[in-house]
Amino acid sequence: MTQAHAPTPAPSPAKPDSPRAASRRRMAEQLPDATLIKWLRDMFLIREFENRTAQAYQQARIGGFCHLYTGQEAVAVGTINALQPDDPIVHAYRDHGHALARGMDPRACMAEMFGRASGCAKGKGGSMHMFDKPHWFFGGHGIVGAQTPLGTGLAFAAKYECEVLGKSLPNPGVLDGQPPKKKVALAFLGDGALNQGALHEAMNLAGLYSIPVIYIVENNGYSMGTAIHRGTTMAHDLMAKARAYGIEGRVIDGFDVMELYDHFKPLVDACREEQRPAFVDLKTYRYLGHSMSDPQKYRTKDEVDQFKAKDSIDCMAAYLMGERVDAAGKPSLSQDQFQEMQEEVRALVRDSVEFAENSPVPDPAELYSDVFVNPQPNLSPTAEYVKGARNPLL
């Protein structure tokens, strides 16, 4: 049986919905140097972090499965920086970059992957399960698409707090004890998740009740080894899926972090103000395999190189060190400063690896901690053994 939709060519650089040639980078350009330099640094941090992660994985110091974000850095940095710090985020399993962009301590992130007690989830979650509640980062998730209804629920709660509780109570603070305010939740997903029922059920609900959640499809062209046009209908126009639920959709290029911000920030602001959902087809590309054990038979090296040629970090660095100059013609970032930044980040990541390596593994007693809020060891037969011997605590 042949597929109804003729295969489209391999992914190629995207055309955003409304290119604004003249006023391009209008919003992002007006941000202070320090902000833009921070974005570059954060993207570089993610890149470096993933390099070190790959290394540690190959040396078998990280176990389990590991999905690297290399190539997609601009997406996490550009979108998350358009948010308020207390806007909730959910994500799938390629989640290290988002956690770092949201402000998670690289030490906690690395230690989690090393399975150490000092990890963000006490070393019990691993690469796919980064959680950072103080930063409103509600986790990586291992089941494709299953996080999207959670993002919808987080947004629902914020809207409920504003519109229902806010009217009847002076300061209900159901979520964090803070006064209610208009929020937007980001639900990140991959293009593979487009085909999961959970996403469609969530989008329908969000459309129906006008819930302020933005579904961000990090469209890197492949769900694991399946090219998008081989896995989903209307791959050339994903907006059709959003339209079906009455949700505004936009295509945004995910390579140029400033252009991404220019397109994304107004959408976040509108969804916050109007308390409504949106859907973004964010065109990006992962340089590495789906996971660390991906033979990558489904794409060519040429295709990968084509995307590497417009690398987000290279472009941003070139802009800050060349195109962007002050009145005296001095670039916002000097070669030396860039060098210094790279050194700082490399040291930070090295430190996170050392920290992880030197952290203790979780105590075996952690096996049965946090299963319930109130542990009931006497009612549970779980706590019999520690390290193969009977648990001395009982």
């Binding site: 176990g63 691993g126 085909n195 999961q196 029922g197 096996l367 779980t382 011997a389």
Partner: protein
């Protein structure tokens, strides 16, 4: 795929044996269709279906969208029409999204249609822990599906058993959930008969005969039990039973053995409460009460979420725990 010189010399892994069974059945029966995420071009997440799409074509080894409910439901539809679909669900945790289709449709259709519609479906699912994977990628949910009337549940531990049981499962007129222990996938080789053979579903295997105590297990834990047996004093004679089929349970083999030995330890990876071990212990007390010299003991995972890899070996039953429990049961 045809055997390589290495496979001929050193034997087949579990992955090789399952691949061979699929190859042979695709060749034998045109109604057989494989479907799942990346099973074709990429050869499957564990490379179990490697090479099959090239030989049998994309119509019979179908790469599907990433959507377990859709994969399972479509496979059930194929089966209703008389095909022999074999969906692959990449990890046992991903059965979650497909649960509705599997348990509320596949399992019940024969009863619901009073015998008019049958579902000859074989769901292949990598199962269990021991490969350093996190939760949802290391779970052991066999009891959930054994508890679902209308489903057969198989969990082989060796390449030879896997091939024979998979061929039985595919030819079985009812839905079979075929759990493949990931921990064994590439860690054990043995010579596997080359031709077509089946091992009946519902038949346990006595791995080693003994007279003092019966140890029952399945999946990867067979290997931990063998390791434990090596560490036991020579004067303890253990009868080791590999259940192979989780449901229907081979009660005859179990009852015969425990009536002979009078003692039993059941070893499972799954959390302790209401696992298969609980059911086996109940069957034993129903049928062997007056033969028992000691209470039936369970060596199991804990009632907790499967932990990430640094605690994995603290969770999974190991030889030490098995030896200790056998010792306690012998000394009761």
């Amino acid at each position: 795929m045809p055997r390589t010189p290495m496979m001929i010399e050193k034997g087949l892994t579990l992955v090789d044996a399952i691949n061979e069974a699929l190859y042979q059945e695709l060749e034998r029966d045109p109604r057989v269709v494989l479907l799942g995420e990346d099973v074709g071009l990429n050869g499957g997440v564990f490379r179990v279906t490697e090479g099959l799409q090239k030989v049998f074509g994309a119509d019979r080894v179908v790469d599907t969208p990433l959507a377990e409910s859709g994969i399972m439901g479509t496979a059930i539809g194929l089966a209703m029409a008389g095909m022999r679909p074999i969906p692959e669900i990449q990890f046992e945790g991903f059965l979650g999204p497909a649960y509705d289709q599997l348990c509320n449709h596949a399992a019940r259709y024969r009863t619901r249609t009073r015998g008019a519609v049958t579902i000859p479906l074989t769901v292949r699912v990598p199962w269990g822990g021991g490969i350093h994977a996190p939760e949802l990628h290391s779970d052991s949910p066999e009891a959930i599906y054994a508890h679902t009337p209308g489903l057969k549940v198989v969990c082989p531990s060796t390449p030879s058993d896997a091939k024979g049981l998979l061929l039985s499962a595919i030819r079985d007129p009812d839905p079979v959930v075929f759990f493949e222990p990931k921990r064994v996938y590439r860690s054990y080789r043995e010579q596997v008969p080359e031709g077509d053979y089946t091992i009946p579903i519902g038949q346990a295997k006595v791995v080693q005969e003994g007279s003092d105590i019966t140890v029952i297990t399945w999946g990867a834990n067979v290997f931990q039990c063998l390791e434990a047996l090596d560490k036991l004093p020579d004067d303890v004679s253990v009868e080791l039973i590999d259940l192979r089929t989780i449901y229907p349970i081979d009660t005859d083999t179990i009852i015969q053995s425990v009536q002979k030995t009078g003692r039993c330890v059941v070893v499972q990876e799954a959390p302790k409460t209401l696992g298969m071990a609980s059911e086996l212990a109940t069957i034993i007390q129903e049928h062997c009460f007056l033969y028992l010299k000691a209470p039936v003991q369970r060596v199991a995972g804990f009632d907790t979420v499967m932990p990430y890899y640094k605690l994995e070996l603290d969770y999974l039953p190991d030889a030490k725990r098995i030896v200790e429990t056998i010792g306690l049961t012998m000394a009761y």
